[in-house]
Amino acid sequence: MKYLGIESQRPKIGVFDFTGCEGCQLQLANKEETLAAFLSCIDVVCFREISSASGEGFTIALVEGAISREDEVERIRWIREQAEVLVALGSCACFGGVNRLKNDFDLDEANREVYGDQPKPTLPVRAINEVVPVDLEIPGCPVSKAEVERVVQHLIWEVPFRFPAYPVCLECKQRYTVCVFEMGELCLGPITRAGCDAPCPAAGLGCWGCRGPAQETNFEEFLSVARERGFSEDEIVDRLAFFGGFRGIA
Protein backbone atom coordinates (compact mmCIF):
# COMPACT_ATOMS: atom_id res chain seq x y z
CA MET A 1 0.00 0.00 0.00
CA LYS A 2 1.31 3.39 -1.08
CA TYR A 3 0.60 6.82 0.36
CA LEU A 4 2.12 10.01 -1.08
CA GLY A 5 4.52 7.83 -3.03
CA ILE A 6 5.81 5.98 0.02
CA GLU A 7 5.31 2.25 0.42
CA SER A 8 4.08 1.28 3.87
CA GLN A 9 5.92 -1.12 6.12
CA ARG A 10 2.83 -3.00 7.35
CA PRO A 11 3.89 -3.29 10.99
CA LYS A 12 3.45 -6.49 12.96
CA ILE A 13 0.88 -5.86 15.66
CA GLY A 14 0.06 -7.94 18.72
CA VAL A 15 -3.13 -7.37 20.71
CA PHE A 16 -3.04 -8.40 24.37
CA ASP A 17 -5.61 -8.38 27.14
CA PHE A 18 -5.30 -8.05 30.89
CA THR A 19 -7.92 -7.35 33.54
CA GLY A 20 -10.86 -5.87 31.64
CA CYS A 21 -14.01 -6.76 29.76
CA GLU A 22 -12.32 -7.21 26.33
CA GLY A 23 -14.64 -4.56 24.93
CA CYS A 24 -11.76 -2.47 23.62
CA GLN A 25 -10.43 -5.46 21.69
CA LEU A 26 -13.88 -5.95 20.28
CA GLN A 27 -13.83 -2.31 19.16
CA LEU A 28 -10.79 -3.14 17.02
CA ALA A 29 -12.96 -5.56 15.07
CA ASN A 30 -15.80 -3.02 14.74
CA LYS A 31 -16.43 -0.25 12.20
CA GLU A 32 -16.96 -2.74 9.43
CA GLU A 33 -16.87 -0.18 6.62
CA THR A 34 -13.12 0.28 7.09
CA LEU A 35 -12.23 -3.02 8.77
CA ALA A 36 -10.76 -4.60 5.63
CA ALA A 37 -8.60 -1.52 4.98
CA PHE A 38 -7.58 -1.42 8.64
CA LEU A 39 -6.48 -5.06 8.61
CA SER A 40 -4.63 -4.67 5.31
CA CYS A 41 -2.49 -1.89 6.81
CA ILE A 42 -1.25 -4.06 9.63
CA ASP A 43 0.03 -7.58 10.08
CA VAL A 44 -1.79 -9.11 13.05
CA VAL A 45 0.50 -11.67 14.65
CA CYS A 46 -1.45 -12.10 17.87
CA PHE A 47 -5.07 -11.22 18.55
CA ARG A 48 -6.99 -13.84 20.48
CA GLU A 49 -10.43 -12.39 19.77
CA ILE A 50 -10.26 -12.43 15.98
CA SER A 51 -7.34 -14.61 14.96
CA SER A 52 -5.77 -17.96 15.79
CA ALA A 53 -2.33 -16.57 14.97
CA SER A 54 -0.27 -16.43 18.12
CA GLY A 55 3.12 -15.57 16.70
CA GLU A 56 5.77 -13.44 18.24
CA GLY A 57 7.88 -10.77 16.60
CA PHE A 58 5.39 -7.94 16.96
CA THR A 59 6.74 -4.40 16.90
CA ILE A 60 3.57 -2.70 18.12
CA ALA A 61 1.67 -4.02 21.14
CA LEU A 62 -1.91 -2.86 21.73
CA VAL A 63 -2.64 -3.62 25.35
CA GLU A 64 -6.06 -3.71 26.90
CA GLY A 65 -6.94 -4.05 30.59
CA ALA A 66 -5.36 -3.23 33.94
CA ILE A 67 -2.77 -5.15 35.91
CA SER A 68 -4.22 -7.01 38.88
CA ARG A 69 -2.25 -10.25 39.26
CA GLU A 70 1.40 -11.23 39.63
CA ASP A 71 1.38 -13.27 36.39
CA GLU A 72 0.05 -10.19 34.59
CA VAL A 73 3.02 -8.20 35.85
CA GLU A 74 5.38 -10.75 34.33
CA ARG A 75 3.48 -10.89 31.04
CA ILE A 76 3.31 -7.11 30.56
CA ARG A 77 7.07 -6.91 31.26
CA TRP A 78 7.68 -9.53 28.58
CA ILE A 79 5.47 -7.63 26.11
CA ARG A 80 7.33 -4.41 26.91
CA GLU A 81 10.65 -6.11 26.14
CA GLN A 82 9.39 -7.38 22.77
CA ALA A 83 7.53 -4.29 21.56
CA GLU A 84 9.08 -1.20 20.04
CA VAL A 85 5.85 0.68 20.69
CA LEU A 86 3.45 -0.15 23.50
CA VAL A 87 -0.02 1.38 23.25
CA ALA A 88 -2.37 1.29 26.25
CA LEU A 89 -5.88 0.79 24.94
CA GLY A 90 -8.89 1.95 26.94
CA SER A 91 -9.63 3.31 30.41
CA CYS A 92 -8.53 0.13 32.25
CA ALA A 93 -5.10 0.13 30.61
CA CYS A 94 -4.71 3.92 30.93
CA PHE A 95 -6.10 4.50 34.43
CA GLY A 96 -6.94 1.14 35.98
CA GLY A 97 -10.57 1.64 35.01
CA VAL A 98 -13.59 0.37 36.89
CA ASN A 99 -11.39 -2.41 38.31
CA ARG A 100 -9.55 0.18 40.30
CA LEU A 101 -12.58 0.68 42.57
CA LYS A 102 -11.38 -2.51 44.25
CA ASN A 103 -8.44 -0.60 45.69
CA ASP A 104 -10.78 1.30 48.00
CA PHE A 105 -11.53 -1.94 49.86
CA ASP A 106 -9.52 -4.41 51.88
CA LEU A 107 -8.05 -6.81 49.32
CA ASP A 108 -8.97 -10.02 51.20
CA GLU A 109 -12.47 -8.77 51.81
CA ALA A 110 -12.90 -7.92 48.13
CA ASN A 111 -11.59 -11.37 47.20
CA ARG A 112 -14.08 -13.07 49.55
CA GLU A 113 -16.95 -10.94 48.27
CA VAL A 114 -16.35 -12.08 44.70
CA TYR A 115 -14.90 -15.58 45.00
CA GLY A 116 -16.30 -16.73 48.37
CA ASP A 117 -14.28 -19.58 49.83
CA GLN A 118 -12.21 -19.99 46.66
CA PRO A 119 -10.05 -16.87 46.75
CA LYS A 120 -7.87 -16.04 43.71
CA PRO A 121 -4.40 -14.53 43.73
CA THR A 122 -4.81 -10.79 43.37
CA LEU A 123 -2.99 -7.47 43.67
CA PRO A 124 -4.15 -3.89 43.98
CA VAL A 125 -5.14 -2.75 40.49
CA ARG A 126 -2.63 -0.66 38.54
CA ALA A 127 -2.67 1.06 35.16
CA ILE A 128 -0.14 -0.22 32.60
CA ASN A 129 2.03 2.90 33.01
CA GLU A 130 2.38 2.13 36.72
CA VAL A 131 4.10 -1.14 35.83
CA VAL A 132 6.02 -0.54 32.59
CA PRO A 133 6.69 2.56 30.43
CA VAL A 134 3.90 3.24 27.91
CA ASP A 135 4.47 5.05 24.60
CA LEU A 136 0.90 6.02 23.74
CA GLU A 137 -2.37 5.99 25.65
CA ILE A 138 -5.79 5.86 23.99
CA PRO A 139 -8.34 6.29 26.78
CA GLY A 140 -12.06 5.55 26.57
CA CYS A 141 -14.57 2.95 27.65
CA PRO A 142 -14.45 1.52 25.14
CA VAL A 143 -11.81 3.12 22.91
CA SER A 144 -13.07 4.83 19.78
CA LYS A 145 -12.13 2.78 16.73
CA ALA A 146 -11.80 5.97 14.69
CA GLU A 147 -9.18 7.19 17.14
CA VAL A 148 -7.35 3.84 17.02
CA GLU A 149 -7.30 4.12 13.22
CA ARG A 150 -5.71 7.55 13.40
CA VAL A 151 -3.13 6.32 15.87
CA VAL A 152 -2.29 3.39 13.59
CA GLN A 153 -1.97 5.81 10.64
CA HIS A 154 0.33 7.87 12.80
CA LEU A 155 2.45 4.82 13.66
CA ILE A 156 2.69 3.66 10.04
CA TRP A 157 3.16 6.93 8.14
CA GLU A 158 3.68 9.48 10.86
CA VAL A 159 0.39 11.13 9.88
CA PRO A 160 0.11 13.88 12.53
CA PHE A 161 -2.14 12.91 15.42
CA ARG A 162 -3.28 14.84 18.48
CA PHE A 163 -5.96 14.22 21.03
CA PRO A 164 -8.35 17.15 21.40
CA ALA A 165 -7.09 19.43 24.19
CA TYR A 166 -10.58 20.68 25.01
CA PRO A 167 -13.26 19.12 27.20
CA VAL A 168 -16.35 17.15 26.13
CA CYS A 169 -18.63 20.27 26.34
CA LEU A 170 -17.39 21.45 22.96
CA GLU A 171 -18.42 18.20 21.29
CA CYS A 172 -21.85 18.31 22.96
CA LYS A 173 -22.34 21.80 21.61
CA GLN A 174 -21.18 20.76 18.14
CA ARG A 175 -23.85 18.08 18.04
CA TYR A 176 -26.55 20.37 19.49
CA THR A 177 -26.98 18.34 22.66
CA VAL A 178 -28.95 20.09 25.38
CA CYS A 179 -26.61 20.37 28.39
CA VAL A 180 -27.46 17.51 30.76
CA PHE A 181 -26.90 19.85 33.72
CA GLU A 182 -29.98 21.68 32.38
CA MET A 183 -31.84 18.40 32.65
CA GLY A 184 -30.73 17.95 36.26
CA GLU A 185 -27.96 15.40 35.63
CA LEU A 186 -24.41 15.42 36.95
CA CYS A 187 -21.83 15.48 34.15
CA LEU A 188 -18.02 15.37 34.03
CA GLY A 189 -18.06 16.86 30.51
CA PRO A 190 -16.51 20.21 31.54
CA ILE A 191 -13.31 18.51 32.78
CA THR A 192 -13.10 15.37 30.63
CA ARG A 193 -10.98 15.13 27.49
CA ALA A 194 -13.04 15.21 24.28
CA GLY A 195 -12.53 12.95 21.27
CA CYS A 196 -15.37 10.53 21.95
CA ASP A 197 -17.91 12.78 20.16
CA ALA A 198 -19.92 12.95 23.39
CA PRO A 199 -22.31 10.02 22.88
CA CYS A 200 -23.37 9.74 26.54
CA PRO A 201 -24.80 13.25 27.04
CA ALA A 202 -26.48 12.94 23.62
CA ALA A 203 -28.31 9.92 25.05
CA GLY A 204 -29.25 11.85 28.19
CA LEU A 205 -26.57 10.39 30.44
CA GLY A 206 -24.03 12.71 32.06
CA CYS A 207 -20.36 12.10 31.23
CA TRP A 208 -18.59 9.62 33.53
CA GLY A 209 -15.10 10.73 32.55
CA CYS A 210 -13.85 7.55 30.89
CA ARG A 211 -11.27 9.53 28.91
CA GLY A 212 -9.73 11.21 31.94
CA PRO A 213 -9.00 14.92 32.34
CA ALA A 214 -8.80 17.41 29.45
CA GLN A 215 -5.47 19.10 28.83
CA GLU A 216 -6.40 21.83 31.29
CA THR A 217 -9.15 21.39 33.86
CA ASN A 218 -10.67 24.02 36.11
CA PHE A 219 -11.40 21.52 38.82
CA GLU A 220 -12.22 24.12 41.46
CA GLU A 221 -14.90 25.74 39.32
CA PHE A 222 -16.27 22.36 38.28
CA LEU A 223 -16.76 21.43 41.94
CA SER A 224 -18.62 24.63 42.67
CA VAL A 225 -20.79 24.18 39.56
CA ALA A 226 -21.73 20.66 40.72
CA ARG A 227 -22.31 21.72 44.33
CA GLU A 228 -24.40 24.77 43.34
CA ARG A 229 -26.67 22.43 41.43
CA GLY A 230 -27.24 20.35 44.52
CA PHE A 231 -25.05 17.31 43.89
CA SER A 232 -23.65 15.79 47.08
CA GLU A 233 -19.96 15.25 47.81
CA ASP A 234 -20.54 11.48 47.61
CA GLU A 235 -22.14 11.72 44.19
CA ILE A 236 -19.31 13.89 42.90
CA VAL A 237 -16.52 11.77 44.39
CA ASP A 238 -18.10 8.51 43.17
CA ARG A 239 -18.40 9.89 39.68
CA LEU A 240 -14.82 11.14 39.60
CA ALA A 241 -13.45 7.84 40.92
CA PHE A 242 -15.41 5.63 38.55
CA PHE A 243 -12.84 5.14 35.78
CA GLY A 244 -9.79 6.16 37.79
CA GLY A 245 -8.87 8.92 35.34
CA PHE A 246 -9.10 11.73 37.89
CA ARG A 247 -6.96 10.31 40.65
CA GLY A 248 -4.47 12.86 41.77
CA ILE A 249 -6.84 15.76 41.24
CA ALA A 250 -10.01 14.26 42.77
Binding site: M1, K2, Y3, L4, G5, S8, T34, A37, F38, S40, C41, E149, R150, Q153, W157, V159, A165, Y166, P167, C169, L170, K173, Q174, R175, Y176, V178, C179, F181, E182, M183, G184, G189, P190, I191, A214, Q215, E216, T217, N218, E221, F222, V225
Partner: protein, 347 residues
Amino acid sequence: MLFRCLSKEGFRDLVEMTLETIEVVGPKEIGRDKDDNPIHHYLPVSNPDELDFDYATTEYSAKTYFLPFQENLSTYRFDEDDWTQDIRYRIQPRAIIGLHACDINGLLKLDKVFARDFFPSPYYISRRENTFIVGIDHEPCEGGFCRSLGTDTVTHGFDLFLTDLGDRYFVAIGSDRGFGALQKVHAREITDEDTHDYLTERQRLAGLFQAEVPVHDLGTLLDIEFTSEVWEKWGRKCMSCGSCAMVCPTCYCYGVMEKVSMDFERGVKQRQAYSCNLVDFAEVAGGHNFRPDSTTRLKYRYYHQHRGFVEIYDEPKCVGCNRCGRTCLAGISPVEVITDLQMDEQT
Protein backbone atom coordinates in the same frame (compact mmCIF):
# COMPACT_ATOMS: atom_id res chain seq x y z
CA MET B 1 -38.51 49.68 1.78
CA LEU B 2 -41.79 48.21 0.56
CA PHE B 3 -44.47 46.97 2.96
CA ARG B 4 -47.39 44.63 2.55
CA CYS B 5 -50.05 43.20 4.79
CA LEU B 6 -50.52 39.46 4.97
CA SER B 7 -53.31 37.52 6.65
CA LYS B 8 -52.36 34.68 8.99
CA GLU B 9 -53.86 32.25 6.46
CA GLY B 10 -51.82 33.86 3.73
CA PHE B 11 -48.70 33.32 5.81
CA ARG B 12 -49.62 29.69 6.35
CA ASP B 13 -50.00 29.29 2.60
CA LEU B 14 -46.60 30.86 2.13
CA VAL B 15 -44.97 28.33 4.48
CA GLU B 16 -46.80 25.42 2.85
CA MET B 17 -45.83 26.57 -0.64
CA THR B 18 -42.22 26.91 0.46
CA LEU B 19 -42.27 23.43 1.98
CA GLU B 20 -43.27 22.01 -1.40
CA THR B 21 -39.94 22.95 -2.91
CA ILE B 22 -37.30 23.53 -0.23
CA GLU B 23 -36.39 22.77 3.37
CA VAL B 24 -37.99 25.07 5.93
CA VAL B 25 -36.21 25.70 9.22
CA GLY B 26 -37.71 27.51 12.18
CA PRO B 27 -38.02 27.75 15.96
CA LYS B 28 -39.23 24.42 17.31
CA GLU B 29 -39.73 23.32 20.91
CA ILE B 30 -37.53 20.28 21.46
CA GLY B 31 -38.23 19.65 25.14
CA ARG B 32 -38.22 21.19 28.59
CA ASP B 33 -35.45 21.73 31.09
CA LYS B 34 -35.49 20.60 34.73
CA ASP B 35 -37.49 23.72 35.68
CA ASP B 36 -40.03 23.02 32.94
CA ASN B 37 -38.91 25.91 30.76
CA PRO B 38 -39.29 25.20 27.03
CA ILE B 39 -36.09 24.69 25.02
CA HIS B 40 -36.15 25.82 21.41
CA HIS B 41 -33.83 25.03 18.52
CA TYR B 42 -33.93 26.17 14.90
CA LEU B 43 -34.80 22.92 13.16
CA PRO B 44 -36.38 21.73 9.93
CA VAL B 45 -40.19 21.57 10.13
CA SER B 46 -42.62 19.54 8.07
CA ASN B 47 -45.69 21.77 8.47
CA PRO B 48 -46.46 25.36 9.59
CA ASP B 49 -47.86 24.20 12.96
CA GLU B 50 -44.40 23.12 14.09
CA LEU B 51 -43.15 26.70 13.94
CA ASP B 52 -43.42 28.18 17.43
CA PHE B 53 -43.18 31.95 17.06
CA ASP B 54 -43.80 32.46 20.78
CA TYR B 55 -40.29 31.29 21.53
CA ALA B 56 -38.23 33.54 23.76
CA THR B 57 -34.86 32.51 22.37
CA THR B 58 -33.12 29.44 20.98
CA GLU B 59 -30.29 27.63 22.72
CA TYR B 60 -28.19 27.85 19.54
CA SER B 61 -28.13 30.69 17.06
CA ALA B 62 -28.92 30.20 13.37
CA LYS B 63 -25.22 30.66 12.58
CA THR B 64 -24.54 27.02 11.89
CA TYR B 65 -26.93 27.00 8.92
CA PHE B 66 -24.30 29.27 7.33
CA LEU B 67 -21.12 28.21 9.12
CA PRO B 68 -21.62 24.58 10.11
CA PHE B 69 -19.65 23.32 13.12
CA GLN B 70 -17.93 20.88 10.77
CA GLU B 71 -17.61 21.22 7.06
CA ASN B 72 -15.61 19.48 4.35
CA LEU B 73 -13.73 22.13 2.40
CA SER B 74 -12.37 19.73 -0.15
CA THR B 75 -11.80 16.05 -0.76
CA TYR B 76 -8.82 14.41 -2.42
CA ARG B 77 -8.25 11.21 -4.30
CA PHE B 78 -4.75 9.76 -4.46
CA ASP B 79 -3.87 7.86 -7.58
CA GLU B 80 -0.39 6.35 -7.83
CA ASP B 81 1.89 9.40 -7.71
CA ASP B 82 -0.83 11.89 -8.59
CA TRP B 83 -3.89 13.26 -6.84
CA THR B 84 -7.11 15.07 -7.70
CA GLN B 85 -9.07 17.56 -5.66
CA ASP B 86 -12.83 18.00 -5.51
CA ILE B 87 -14.43 21.13 -4.04
CA ARG B 88 -18.18 21.41 -3.61
CA TYR B 89 -19.92 24.33 -2.01
CA ARG B 90 -23.21 24.39 -3.83
CA ILE B 91 -26.01 23.57 -1.46
CA GLN B 92 -29.72 22.97 -1.61
CA PRO B 93 -31.71 26.18 -1.02
CA ARG B 94 -33.43 26.55 2.33
CA ALA B 95 -35.77 28.93 4.13
CA ILE B 96 -35.32 30.00 7.74
CA ILE B 97 -38.53 31.41 9.11
CA GLY B 98 -38.91 33.23 12.41
CA LEU B 99 -35.48 34.70 13.11
CA HIS B 100 -35.34 37.54 15.62
CA ALA B 101 -33.59 40.80 14.78
CA CYS B 102 -30.49 39.90 16.81
CA ASP B 103 -29.87 36.79 14.73
CA ILE B 104 -30.31 38.64 11.44
CA ASN B 105 -27.94 41.32 12.73
CA GLY B 106 -25.55 38.49 13.55
CA LEU B 107 -25.70 37.38 9.92
CA LEU B 108 -25.03 40.95 8.74
CA LYS B 109 -21.86 40.91 10.85
CA LEU B 110 -20.82 37.54 9.44
CA ASP B 111 -21.50 38.96 5.95
CA LYS B 112 -18.88 41.60 6.63
CA VAL B 113 -16.32 38.93 7.46
CA PHE B 114 -17.15 36.19 4.98
CA ALA B 115 -18.84 37.96 2.08
CA ARG B 116 -17.46 41.50 1.94
CA ASP B 117 -13.91 41.31 3.22
CA PHE B 118 -10.69 40.63 1.31
CA PHE B 119 -11.16 36.87 1.31
CA PRO B 120 -14.81 36.07 0.69
CA SER B 121 -15.76 32.49 1.52
CA PRO B 122 -17.60 30.72 -1.30
CA TYR B 123 -18.87 28.21 1.25
CA TYR B 124 -20.53 30.93 3.32
CA ILE B 125 -21.79 32.97 0.37
CA SER B 126 -23.36 29.90 -1.20
CA ARG B 127 -25.35 29.19 1.93
CA ARG B 128 -26.23 32.82 2.55
CA GLU B 129 -27.50 33.45 -0.97
CA ASN B 130 -29.45 30.23 -1.06
CA THR B 131 -31.25 30.89 2.22
CA PHE B 132 -34.58 32.70 2.23
CA ILE B 133 -34.86 34.54 5.53
CA VAL B 134 -38.06 35.59 7.24
CA GLY B 135 -37.61 37.57 10.44
CA ILE B 136 -40.21 38.35 13.09
CA ASP B 137 -40.66 41.02 15.76
CA HIS B 138 -40.81 39.82 19.32
CA GLU B 139 -40.85 40.82 22.96
CA PRO B 140 -37.40 40.87 24.59
CA CYS B 141 -35.95 37.65 25.95
CA GLU B 142 -34.73 37.41 29.52
CA GLY B 143 -31.16 38.54 29.96
CA GLY B 144 -30.81 39.79 26.38
CA PHE B 145 -29.21 43.22 26.01
CA CYS B 146 -29.64 43.70 22.26
CA ARG B 147 -31.09 47.17 22.81
CA SER B 148 -27.74 48.29 24.21
CA LEU B 149 -26.03 47.17 21.03
CA GLY B 150 -28.68 48.49 18.66
CA THR B 151 -29.52 45.03 17.40
CA ASP B 152 -33.14 44.86 18.60
CA THR B 153 -34.20 46.12 15.19
CA VAL B 154 -32.95 45.30 11.72
CA THR B 155 -33.41 47.04 8.38
CA HIS B 156 -31.85 44.59 5.92
CA GLY B 157 -30.29 41.18 5.65
CA PHE B 158 -33.66 39.40 5.34
CA ASP B 159 -36.12 38.65 2.56
CA LEU B 160 -39.23 39.34 4.64
CA PHE B 161 -39.72 40.65 8.16
CA LEU B 162 -42.99 40.15 10.01
CA THR B 163 -44.63 42.13 12.75
CA ASP B 164 -47.60 40.39 14.32
CA LEU B 165 -50.68 42.67 14.41
CA GLY B 166 -52.98 40.06 15.96
CA ASP B 167 -55.06 38.94 12.98
CA ARG B 168 -52.45 39.76 10.32
CA TYR B 169 -48.77 40.39 9.71
CA PHE B 170 -47.27 43.71 8.72
CA VAL B 171 -44.52 42.63 6.36
CA ALA B 172 -41.35 44.51 5.47
CA ILE B 173 -39.93 43.37 2.13
CA GLY B 174 -36.15 43.15 2.05
CA SER B 175 -35.50 41.63 -1.37
CA ASP B 176 -37.01 41.05 -4.80
CA ARG B 177 -37.13 37.38 -3.82
CA GLY B 178 -39.31 38.32 -0.84
CA PHE B 179 -41.49 40.52 -3.06
CA GLY B 180 -42.01 37.62 -5.47
CA ALA B 181 -42.96 35.25 -2.68
CA LEU B 182 -45.61 37.64 -1.36
CA GLN B 183 -47.13 37.99 -4.84
CA LYS B 184 -47.96 34.31 -4.81
CA VAL B 185 -50.01 34.53 -1.61
CA HIS B 186 -51.85 37.72 -2.48
CA ALA B 187 -50.48 40.00 0.20
CA ARG B 188 -52.34 43.29 -0.06
CA GLU B 189 -51.18 46.90 -0.11
CA ILE B 190 -50.99 48.47 3.34
CA THR B 191 -53.66 50.89 4.55
CA ASP B 192 -53.34 53.80 6.97
CA GLU B 193 -54.84 51.58 9.64
CA ASP B 194 -52.12 48.93 9.07
CA THR B 195 -49.39 51.55 9.36
CA HIS B 196 -50.95 52.97 12.50
CA ASP B 197 -51.25 49.54 14.11
CA TYR B 198 -47.70 48.70 13.10
CA LEU B 199 -46.24 51.87 14.60
CA THR B 200 -48.23 51.35 17.79
CA GLU B 201 -46.93 47.79 18.09
CA ARG B 202 -43.36 48.87 17.34
CA GLN B 203 -43.62 51.52 20.01
CA ARG B 204 -44.95 49.00 22.52
CA LEU B 205 -42.10 46.59 21.76
CA ALA B 206 -39.47 49.34 21.88
CA GLY B 207 -40.70 50.25 25.35
CA LEU B 208 -40.18 46.69 26.54
CA PHE B 209 -36.52 46.61 25.50
CA GLN B 210 -34.44 48.29 28.14
CA ALA B 211 -30.75 49.06 27.73
CA GLU B 212 -29.07 46.90 30.34
CA VAL B 213 -25.44 47.55 29.78
CA PRO B 214 -23.69 50.73 28.66
CA VAL B 215 -21.38 49.77 25.80
CA HIS B 216 -20.63 53.20 24.37
CA ASP B 217 -16.90 53.74 24.23
CA LEU B 218 -16.34 50.22 25.50
CA GLY B 219 -13.31 49.90 23.21
CA THR B 220 -11.50 52.66 25.09
CA LEU B 221 -12.63 51.32 28.44
CA LEU B 222 -11.19 47.92 27.54
CA ASP B 223 -7.83 49.52 26.80
CA ILE B 224 -7.86 51.37 30.11
CA GLU B 225 -8.88 48.21 31.99
CA PHE B 226 -6.38 45.90 30.29
CA THR B 227 -4.80 44.90 33.59
CA SER B 228 -8.01 45.08 35.62
CA GLU B 229 -8.64 42.46 38.30
CA VAL B 230 -12.04 41.97 36.70
CA TRP B 231 -10.38 39.65 34.17
CA GLU B 232 -8.85 37.61 36.97
CA LYS B 233 -12.20 37.39 38.77
CA TRP B 234 -14.15 36.08 35.76
CA GLY B 235 -11.30 34.32 34.00
CA ARG B 236 -10.66 32.10 37.01
CA LYS B 237 -14.20 30.80 36.68
CA CYS B 238 -13.84 29.94 32.98
CA MET B 239 -13.62 26.19 32.37
CA SER B 240 -12.20 26.75 28.86
CA CYS B 241 -14.91 24.63 27.26
CA GLY B 242 -15.76 26.90 24.32
CA SER B 243 -19.54 26.57 24.77
CA CYS B 244 -19.97 30.36 24.61
CA ALA B 245 -18.43 30.56 21.14
CA MET B 246 -20.47 27.61 19.87
CA VAL B 247 -23.84 29.17 20.74
CA CYS B 248 -22.74 32.71 19.78
CA PRO B 249 -24.40 33.99 16.56
CA THR B 250 -21.19 35.69 15.45
CA CYS B 251 -18.19 33.73 16.79
CA TYR B 252 -16.61 32.36 13.65
CA CYS B 253 -13.11 31.16 14.57
CA TYR B 254 -12.20 27.77 13.22
CA GLY B 255 -9.44 25.25 12.77
CA VAL B 256 -8.60 23.29 9.62
CA MET B 257 -7.35 19.73 9.62
CA GLU B 258 -6.68 17.08 7.05
CA LYS B 259 -7.64 13.46 7.45
CA VAL B 260 -6.68 10.44 5.39
CA SER B 261 -9.01 7.50 4.84
CA MET B 262 -7.98 4.15 6.30
CA ASP B 263 -7.28 2.72 2.82
CA PHE B 264 -5.04 5.76 2.15
CA GLU B 265 -6.82 6.36 -1.15
CA ARG B 266 -8.75 9.48 -0.16
CA GLY B 267 -8.23 12.55 1.97
CA VAL B 268 -10.42 15.32 3.27
CA LYS B 269 -9.75 18.87 4.44
CA GLN B 270 -12.15 19.79 7.23
CA ARG B 271 -13.05 23.02 8.88
CA GLN B 272 -14.14 22.78 12.50
CA ALA B 273 -15.50 25.59 14.68
CA TYR B 274 -13.06 26.47 17.43
CA SER B 275 -13.06 28.89 20.33
CA CYS B 276 -10.55 31.41 21.65
CA ASN B 277 -11.27 30.11 25.14
CA LEU B 278 -9.89 26.65 24.36
CA VAL B 279 -6.50 26.02 25.91
CA ASP B 280 -4.56 25.51 22.67
CA PHE B 281 -6.21 28.26 20.62
CA ALA B 282 -3.10 30.44 20.59
CA GLU B 283 -0.60 27.59 20.48
CA VAL B 284 1.88 27.89 17.63
CA ALA B 285 4.75 25.86 16.18
CA GLY B 286 7.13 24.61 18.81
CA GLY B 287 4.34 24.33 21.36
CA HIS B 288 4.51 27.99 22.41
CA ASN B 289 1.19 29.25 23.74
CA PHE B 290 0.55 32.99 23.73
CA ARG B 291 -2.47 32.70 26.00
CA PRO B 292 -1.88 29.83 28.38
CA ASP B 293 -4.20 31.22 31.10
CA SER B 294 -7.97 31.16 31.05
CA THR B 295 -7.97 34.74 32.34
CA THR B 296 -6.09 36.04 29.28
CA ARG B 297 -8.20 33.96 26.93
CA LEU B 298 -11.47 35.24 28.36
CA LYS B 299 -10.20 38.81 28.15
CA TYR B 300 -9.33 38.41 24.51
CA ARG B 301 -12.78 37.06 23.73
CA TYR B 302 -14.23 40.32 25.06
CA TYR B 303 -11.57 42.29 23.21
CA HIS B 304 -12.53 40.70 19.92
CA GLN B 305 -16.24 41.25 20.57
CA HIS B 306 -16.05 44.88 21.62
CA ARG B 307 -12.74 46.30 20.43
CA GLY B 308 -10.96 44.35 17.67
CA PHE B 309 -14.09 43.86 15.59
CA VAL B 310 -15.02 47.53 16.02
CA GLU B 311 -11.66 48.62 14.66
CA ILE B 312 -12.14 46.64 11.48
CA TYR B 313 -15.89 46.79 10.90
CA ASP B 314 -17.01 49.89 12.85
CA GLU B 315 -19.37 48.00 15.12
CA PRO B 316 -19.15 45.45 17.94
CA LYS B 317 -19.31 41.79 17.03
CA CYS B 318 -21.69 41.08 19.92
CA VAL B 319 -25.46 41.30 19.27
CA GLY B 320 -26.44 41.10 22.93
CA CYS B 321 -28.45 37.88 22.71
CA ASN B 322 -26.87 36.56 25.95
CA ARG B 323 -26.74 32.99 24.63
CA CYS B 324 -23.17 32.77 25.95
CA GLY B 325 -24.34 33.91 29.38
CA ARG B 326 -27.11 31.32 29.44
CA THR B 327 -24.97 28.42 28.29
CA CYS B 328 -22.03 29.11 30.63
CA LEU B 329 -22.10 26.62 33.50
CA ALA B 330 -19.75 28.86 35.48
CA GLY B 331 -22.20 31.75 35.14
CA ILE B 332 -19.92 34.13 33.23
CA SER B 333 -22.41 36.72 32.05
CA PRO B 334 -21.43 39.43 29.56
CA VAL B 335 -23.67 41.97 31.29
CA GLU B 336 -21.95 41.37 34.62
CA VAL B 337 -18.44 41.34 33.15
CA ILE B 338 -18.97 44.64 31.32
CA THR B 339 -20.73 46.20 34.32
CA ASP B 340 -17.79 45.15 36.52
CA LEU B 341 -15.40 46.88 34.12
CA GLN B 342 -17.47 50.08 34.23
CA MET B 343 -17.51 49.94 38.03
CA ASP B 344 -13.80 49.29 38.13
CA GLU B 345 -13.16 52.46 36.17
CA GLN B 346 -15.33 54.53 38.49
CA THR B 347 -13.57 53.43 41.66
